[in-house]
């Protein structure tokens, strides 16, 4: 028996999940979404992660990045270690791929903010 908090909605049911062979059963869920979530959590849990890496030559020194789609939960720490080894170079646009196929998951790491190349600060009307 495993206890899992369902995150499908804000109610956050605390569910007792039991697995017998390939049969997964759940108690404590108030709706069917709980069963689906429990199945995924027991067989192939995934998560999105976000972090920041260094960026050179830009108007900022750190660039925030994220997984483009969720990765297996078991790969989180390995993925972060791989991402933190990278230094990006400005200019960077939102959505630019910073790293392909992180830890062999097939998922790309993409930029979540724009970093302009230096020199921009003096010419752009906003700065």
């Amino acid at each position: 028996m495993t206890e899992i908090t369902c995150v499908s909605c804000p109610v956050g049911c605390l569910m007792a999940v039991t697995q017998q062979n390939s049969q997964i059963s759940v108690t404590g869920n108030e709706c069917p979404a709980g069963l689906e979530y429990a199945k995924e959590e027991l067989t192939a849990p995934t998560r999105n992660i976000a972090t920041s890496i260094k960026v050179t030559g830009g108007h900022m020194t750190m660039l925030s990045v994220k997984t483009a789609t969720p990765i297996p939960k078991s790969k989180i720490m390995a993925a972060v270690a791989e991402i933190h080894k990278i230094t990006a170079a400005a200019p960077v646009a939102i959505g630019d791929i910073i790293l392909e196929n992180v830890t062999g998951t097939g998922v790309n790491i993409v930029a979540t903010r724009e970093v302009k190349a230096v020199g921009f600060a003096h010419t752009h009307p906003l700065f």
Partner: protein, 407 residues
Amino acid sequence: MNLCIIGGGPAGLSAAIRAREDGLEDVLVIERADSLGGILNQCIHHGFGVHVFKEELTGPEYSQRLIDRALKLGVKFALGAMVIDIEEDRTVTYVSPRGLTSLKPGAVVLAMGCRERSRGAIGIPGGRGSGVYSAGTAQEMVNMKGFKLGQKVVILGSGDIGLIMARRMALEGADVLGVYEIAPHSGGLKRNIAQCLNDYGIPLFLSHTVTRTKGLKTLEGVYVAKVDENYQPIPDTEHFIPCDTLLLSVGLIPENELATKINVEMSPITGGAIVNNRLETSIPGVFAAGNALHVHDLVDHVTLESYDAAANAVKFIRGQLPPATHSTIVTPGHGVRYTVPMALIPGEPMYTISFRSSGIYSPCEIKISADGETIRSIKKRAIIPSEMERVRFVLKNPAKEVKVEIL
């Protein structure tokens, strides 16, 4: 100068967008930082925009969408510009690299956001060694500046910022020893407890607090203790936890020095202005929205509220907002800690009230009544204090009082 918006976070940007969309020519956003986006720039995690943009974005992505739209619509900006004074006739004065500027807009939107409650405000005794940060400051240092904070981390307060930072520190390779919460329930979303604490094996200690800190130059550790039902530490439960970092996530305070300067009537509960359904304060032509008005859980709600404030500010400037001769009082009933707005001016086809509960209710019903007569009831599976509720209703007949309660 038509509309002046103080603060260039999501509230200010959303207000500016709406004012331009409604055709107002001259819209200026004054922001004291060198860039727009407010606090969202440092909130690099997922979970923003599900309602407004129908997709799950990170904080910087959400604010960039607003910035792009505002620029496209021709909103004007003053950056590195801090508003230092405002007068009752709405004269706004700011300092910027260009010096001192004063202007007298047709209307003002207060969108200054909020700041974090500090260590002093909750009074933890002990040495003032380095290693004690508010959670939001730590978030900025790690996410924006790339600083490494400590390796052994204790977090006080289980609000969402504390939970998000627990995960963030774990991803940075730190050992997060625990999140200590004085209340018997967490101040954060269950989702965040599952994904920020449970995923990383970080324990949550409810009914616990940090009683004092040790370390004169740098933090050497903290004393924690269980608390009784009156939140008083139980002496013989106190014990020492060696750590080099203490993050405080102990609440947010709307930033309203400007509002109090012109004697805007303030709510002691929200820390923001008292507003009517137009989101207009007690000073005509001065509107408020976002975290400066009350602390929001979701930035999506900030955007929607700011749209409303701006739409009314535009009407005010055009003389289309008839002065309120009388209004309906909104009272928080059973289970409701506060409501925004606090008064309704008759004549609107639909009203929106935001509120927070004072406890956990599940399952329950939200009841809206006008002078004792139920006008709307909504069944809910659960209402928790950390989540803001928004209800909409029609008020057919004039009423003295509208009451919101949780049954």
